[in-house]
């Protein structure tokens, strides 16, 4: 066996490793029910429940924000975000929450929100907020 072949094999093995890791590390867009059963970090696509009270009091704690969100299946869940309240949060139309479920409360470490643009119709503006520490 020539050295070139050995190198080729190692490269192939690493390339497959890279692809497998991309596949296994990638997640799916999911819902609260799954978050509850799996208990792992997960992406949930949902909407802010505008009927229910959001909680943010910077004088008490500037790093604590909580609200209620409904996932695609309509299931509702309390969400806690350890950070300052993202600006314009009330206007958001869709939320992509990254986090995990702990005792029936979803702890988000990242919120990606889509807000309707004030200028062009049918155009969404996307902003992102990160919690102060990863979960």
């Amino acid at each position: 066996m020539k050295r070139v072949h050995i190198i080729l094999l190692v490269v192939l093995a690493l390339a497959i490793g890279v692809l497998v890791s991309t596949y296994s590390d990638s997640s799916t867009y999911s819902n609260f029910a799954k978050a509850k059963s799996e208990g792992e970090l997960i992406h949930v696509i949902g909407k802010l429940d505008k009927e229910k009270q959001m909680e943010y009091n910077p004088f008490k704690d500037a790093n604590h924000f909580s609200f209620y969100a409904k996932d695609k299946d309509g299931q509702e869940c309390k969400v806690v975000f350890d950070g300052t309240k993202p600006q314009d949060f009330e206007r958001s139309e869709q939320l992509v929450l990254t986090g995990k479920m702990e005792s029936n409360v979803f702890h988000a470490e990242k919120i990606l929100m889509k807000c309707p643009s004030k200028y062009t119709n049918d155009h969404l503006e996307i902003t992102e907020a990160r919690a102060i520490k990863p979960i």
Partner: protein, 829 residues
Amino acid sequence: MQFTGEHLWLGKLGQFFVVFSFGMAILTTLSYYFSVREELDPNRKGNFSWKLLARSAFLLHAISLVGIIACMFTLIYNHYFEYHYAWEHSSRALPTHFIISCFWEGQEGSFLLWGFWQIVLGSILIWKAKDWESGVMTVIGLSQVFVCSILLGVSIFGFQVGSSPFILTRMVMTEAPIFKDPNYLSNFLTDGRGLNPLLQNYWMVIHPPTLFLGFASMIVPFAYAITGLWTSRVKEWISPALPWALFAVMVLGTGIVMGSAWAYEALNFGGFWQWDPVENASILPWLILVAAVHVMISYKSSGQSYITATILVLSSFILVEYASYLTRSGVLQNASVHAFTDLGMKYQLIFFILVFLGISLYFMVSRWKSLPSSPKEESLYSREFWMFIGSIVLTLSCLQIMATTSIPVFNEIFHTQKAPPVDLVGHYNKWQILFVFTIIILSAFSQFLKYQKTNTRVFFLQLGIYLVVSILITVGLVYLTHTGFNTMFVLLDFACTFSIVSNARILADAFNGKMKLAGSAIAHIGFALLILGALVAASTRKVISVNTTGLSYGPSWTTKNAQENILIYKGEPYQMSNYKVTYLSDSVSGPDTYYKINYQKIDPTNGRSIENFDLYPNAQINEKMGGLIASPSTRHYWFQDIYTHISEVPGAKEREASQEDSTYTINSYQVKPGQKIEVNKTEITVSELVRNAQVKDIAINPEKNDLAVGLKLNLESEKGKFTTEPIFLIKNLNILPIETKVDELGMKFRFTKIIPETGSFELQVLSKKPGKRDWVIMKAMIFPYINFLWIGTLIMVIGFLFSIFRRNNEWVHSQSKGSKKKNKTPIPA
């Protein structure tokens, strides 16, 4: 309908330039193509009519492209908001130096920038490339055709091609009711939407042009490779392409680091690299071209790895196109907040990739048999073998980033719903730390090897010495930087040290006469420093704004929630780590509010202040851009940075309310000069009466019984000493007291009455009621050793400059030798 106030001629002129430059780009490409045919034809008559035509077409193309830029600049500079580009990306309030940034905020402008650089590069090549001109310029011309097609904005067979920068606002928003008014410009569209405040940063003036120069120059090595294969000069293209490849690597690398400098200085996530898809897209072609440069050099010195070099050079430019597809087609919409939105040119960009991929494949396959293969297997103790391994590792590193960044592309193709890894940074780091470790180790020990064959005894001896030295230095370094908590970081510290020490040895040799070795040694040292700085800064950065009040925060609060944002009240010192921070005051400049935050470090033994400085982080409440936009302020030291940013400020209503009198307690006093009073722990001394006081912007006319008298006050409290001078003003027989404000004390002063009977004056002191104070929420971080990252980049650039000159000289030298030899047969076909 007839609209008034529009400047339609400018758009028409601009659109003419767009179409004309597109046409001329096609003509340039075609005539250069025939010029190559003409040069390849053994029976040619010796006139270069096609080349002459091609050069003229290129000149006209260049002029009209500069014309487009001039038109766009005119409409942005003159605030012609009837044009959508000006309305969307600029506003009247914008300072002039940022008008230039408006240019590349939009998609069309950034493509124009790309086209502009290709013109500059094309002109240099026409001047310098000699007998490579026709082939190389055919490829550049073709790329220019695609870049111009993106600005076309015309419909061909019902298919929208490009998006014109000269489209009118009323054409984009056809539904908006304001366009029913013929005077919409003077009545409604009086100001533009403005430039995103995050882009209002000096880095954004230089980062995009540098990045695009990098992208644009990557076509040059690609064009040389294609020309080499096309005109059967399969071996010769490497020499002239090498300095260009080095140039592209240098400029793109600088552009990428400038982007992270911008992220570090202007964005408030507190970091310089986020593995964001847009960042990743720019690094893909860079990694591949770095790999290509190494095998090109290896081929020149040893005749090995020709095919690898060619494939890598060809892939690097295709990756540039793939990067622009990723960032500009809207495919990343769900994954990145930085990507451009879709302008409907997805298919155009895919077509762009396919054409260049097709050309590359065609020439690789059709010339396959004539490509030089490696003469024999490289020795294990040869430099070229390890350079080849290094290139493979760089390629794998690129592949890993590409695979994960392309998840949205896979979703698009296979209609899946995969999301990027939840722990994105962790996912990339676990692979890339491994790759970067290998690369740096390779860049160190291959310096002890020679091309072809090395004396193994000498090699192991030298290697051993430098290994021991590096280990000793690493131990010291780990101890100093406190990175000992993670084995991987210790190993990386070691790798970087090893590389710096080994390359320093080469550099020492270089100064002893072997100057041509200096470039690579310097560049490798710079790279190792860059990685070391990035690594230490990212791994040991420390949040120092930790809340220490110890309050309880309700049931959903768990202990692991460290409190990194702190709320501080104006004028109230707050102990934060080693520093006492005080929010002193704020000042408004344009749309920004700058918050003056004072930092004081107190020596605990004697209570004296050993350090005292102010930082001015700013924030603006920007309704248009969706809320609070904050930019940090940083105190730079040699070995660390202190970084502060505002996370939250009171809303506009709350701010206004806090300025009203109802939030103040008012006390009136009758005072005489020399008298002292005490209000709210502040001692106020009335020092003197100032006759003929000056009032800004108000003319005092004594003949009309105007009067302005000031009362000079000295204030002393534990917050410091201040002076202020409220003024009693009579203007046009009205009494208008002019109040003064001392933010630090939360006090206002008014001089309201002169009482001649007693010779005294009435002074009102307004002090802010507690609870209604101004506040900000801020976060502060320390980034240790981040300067290594910037210094490393600078050193790397210097190294590349050395290498570019060396490789360029080599080529020019070989040309002059070659032309003497080949004087009688000038066709190198």
